[in-house]
Subunit: 451 residues, 2 copies
């Protein structure tokens, strides 16, 4: 037969992923016609002039072509060559063989060591899954958690649409909880309780709560008290936690620091709440989106359930080995005293410094535009400003018009969720500084004329 | 909560993937205890001493670390440096940025050119999806096809368990059709008709048929008449076709050649049957399993359905860029007159020659063992011999005992499907020649003692 649209399942049809939806398609069309487009729709740093870290790329080049370790000896620092040798030995067969379904053990051990060092807690290499980016880890966790159409997953509003898309595709129920825009998008216990109780009234069996820290699209950063409150909430209502921590290196305000859910959970002696944590090579200072590297760590999950997760991973064989090695380099960067250390620190700090400057520049610039209001971007890579719209206009229409008139491609708030009656858009903070200024100027002019 | 096994959905629990199941877990356990294990369970050539192609790895190294294109000029042939430049320009942002959800257009165009040249037919870059290995393409196609629990997908018996696992996970119905072991595992129209009619009697809405050519685990190769018959069958019963053609370079018998479903379909003017075709960097002479590169080509699928496929791909952002570039190198290898050509041909032909020799050696060796019967291995990377077992013994027990006594790890026929009352196992033909001989000897001794 020739398949027709009516043959497609409801879950597939209803799945939506705004970050790459209609507006982006239109932007690409305009670009093919010769228009200059500034892509602020997606956190894709290297498409916006961010340079890869030399150390990481040198290690990957040597692992791809091991002859270079000796033949190109004068082109690579000794610690890079040493690392490549160690990685190749750790993978046993190099980058061209399938690894274990959970990923190369050597890399998983390095991830466990990273967690131990970061958090001062125990970590187990057998509780680590190496994944093609964090997205695949999130999908694996949701696949295990959603067992039928009455199962609900709490997601923040606004949220990153990977969550809503995957829950829809797996035929579970989205249970939204609002973040408090008036208080820097913070979590509020009363809003959590309210949304949970409402879902239960409708017969939804709520099984887990997803938290993004730092937040996407909100840019907020949770402190230890927020996290403790959330763990208590999960415990008292029998929920698992999905902690999306892919922006853990992207924290911009003095005094803020990243605190992991795993750390707070272990320190408070909580062993009754299942936790899935996610990290990625795509964000932070690496920005290696195309390598598709990342990991999921699981805690407080019984072995027979872990075996089910591993079984599902095995159907797709394994995550790509280059991404696995990129993950190794992320969790085991050069150390003081090693030849690559100085260059690594310089590159890392330059990238993070630029992101910090752009986060401030963008939020401040947006707040100068009458009719646009933007919280401080404390973390991650996005601003999610609120916009005042003329009656009858949607934020989707606003973003389309913005694109047509200015070439700036952003994503409407409706793709992330927002309080009914409000309108927002998400923009990345990633364009180079000179472009950020142009973005703000063009936005201001557009917004003034739009009202 | 701490998740419990009873919280997990039925579809997840019922999903099975024998190639990495219980026996492999036991093999790894034995290996950790110091036993030498010969892994014949999975088509993972580079874990069994196959060397990667120099050309491919050189291009990947330069793409990872573009500084080398100039700085390492004396270490790389000029055409490799030229290819790396072309690829980097084609990707626009190198390997570290997300590409389009369907993959880098430059690579998709190269894939379309490859299909045009291979088959002498038209091909469209916009009908190509670059995927993390072929597995992800197969899953994408099945996700689109299975819309509810009454939807059935025809799969061969024996089949590669990616198909059965994915159909179970997506809650569709497996509709098995037997391959004819007595006739070199060929397709038989009457067996196809019979299994289709039986499924329909049970109320199953059969939507597609999966064909593996060359066959996994059977090693059979379809000719043009088989393929034409299958397309007619699909047409007359309103089925889509999934053509798994990942072993298209692995054809060993004189006179046999690979014929694609796309070619036969276009040549017979058939535009009413939807076709999904799959190819991969993991097999053939590349054997680059760890790179996770591959593609899916779709034909006779209306644009609104294609848009649904693209939307689902976008939720996971894109396939890994290294795998995409590996796919480029697969479809656009060095050409006569280019500096890398001679070495490429020598490496390719050596690998294919060795595989051909091992395929013959293994099948002949197995056939010399009383109680084991093996068809000719005409293609792919496996033998699927039939074994006579003592009453009351299963092939799973046989494979476990074989592993314990000899260190040889193979997969029981029950993981692939077989006619009730028969028993088989699947072994790869990949071990180096000296090991193949040892495998056959140990198997013969084990089998004699087992009866």
């Amino acid at each position: 037969m020739a398949i027709q649209l009516q043959d497609i399942g409801k879950a597939v049809l209803e799945t939506e992923y705004a970050v790459r939806g209609r507006i982006v398609a239109r932007a690409q069309e305009l670009e093919r016609q010769g228009r200059e487009i500034i892509y602020c729709n997606i956190g894709n740093p290297q498409a916006l002039e961010q340079r890869p870290l030399t150390y990481l790329r040198q290690v990957l080049a040597l692992c791809q072509y091991p002859d270079l370790i000796d033949r190109g000896a004068d082109l690579f620092p000794p610690d890079v060559r040493e690392t490549a040798r160690r990685v190749l030995e750790g993978t046993r067969y190099g980058l061209g063989a399938y690894s274990d379904s959970t990923g190369v053990r050597f890399v998983r051990e390095a991830v466990a060591a990273f967690i131990r060092e970061r958090d001062g807690i125990e970590a187990d290499a057998d509780a680590i899954y190496l994944t093609d980016g964090a997205s695949k880890g999130v999908q694996a966790a949701l696949r295990i958690l959603i067992s039928g159409p009455h199962d609900g997953i709490m997601i923040p509003i606004p949220q990153y649409p990977l969550y809503s898309a995957t829950i829809t595709l797996y035929e579970g129920k989205q249970v939204g909880y609002y973040l408090d825009e008036g208080h820097a998008w913070k979590l509020s216990l009363s809003m959590l309780e309210e949304s949970l109780q409402e879902a239960r009234r409708y017969g939804v069996r709520v099984k887990a709560i997803c938290v993004l820290n730092p937040g996407n699209p909100t840019g907020s950063v949770l402190d230890r008290d927020n996290i403790r409150m959330l763990i208590q909430f999960a415990k008292s209502h029998d929920l698992a936690i999905l902690a999306d921590e892919v922006y853990q290196e992207n924290i911009y305000l003095k005094g803020d620091r990243f605190v992991s859910f795993a750390k707070v959970m272990v320190e408070s002696g909580e062993a009754g709440v299942s936790l899935f944590s996610f990290h990625s090579c795509s964000k932070g200072y690496l920005g290696e989106c195309g390598q598709r590297g990342g990991y999921m760590e699981v805690r407080n999950i019984p072995p027979d359930v872990v075996a089910q997760i591993t079984k599902l991973q095995s159907v797709s064989l394994c995550a790509n080995l280059t991404g696995q090695v990129a993950t190794y380099c992320m969790v085991r960067p050069p150390r003081p005293g090693e030849p690559s250390y100085a260059r690594f620190v310089e590159e890392r700090d330059r990238i993070l410094g630029e992101l910090r400057a752009r986060a401030a520049l963008l939020a401040e610039g947006l707040n100068r535009v009458p009719g646009i209001q933007c919280n401080v971007v404390a973390g991650a890579m996005y601003a999610f400003p609120r916009i005042a719209l003329p009656a009858g206009r949607s934020d989707e229409q606003y973003c389309l018009d913005l694109l047509e008139q200015t070439g700036i491609c952003v994503v409407p708030g409706s793709g992330f969720g927002q309080i009914p009656g409000t309108a927002h858009f998400r923009t990345t903070i990633l364009p180079p500084t000179r472009q950020i200024e142009a973005v703000v100027e063009r936005l201001a002019a557009f917004h003034a004329s739009y009202r």
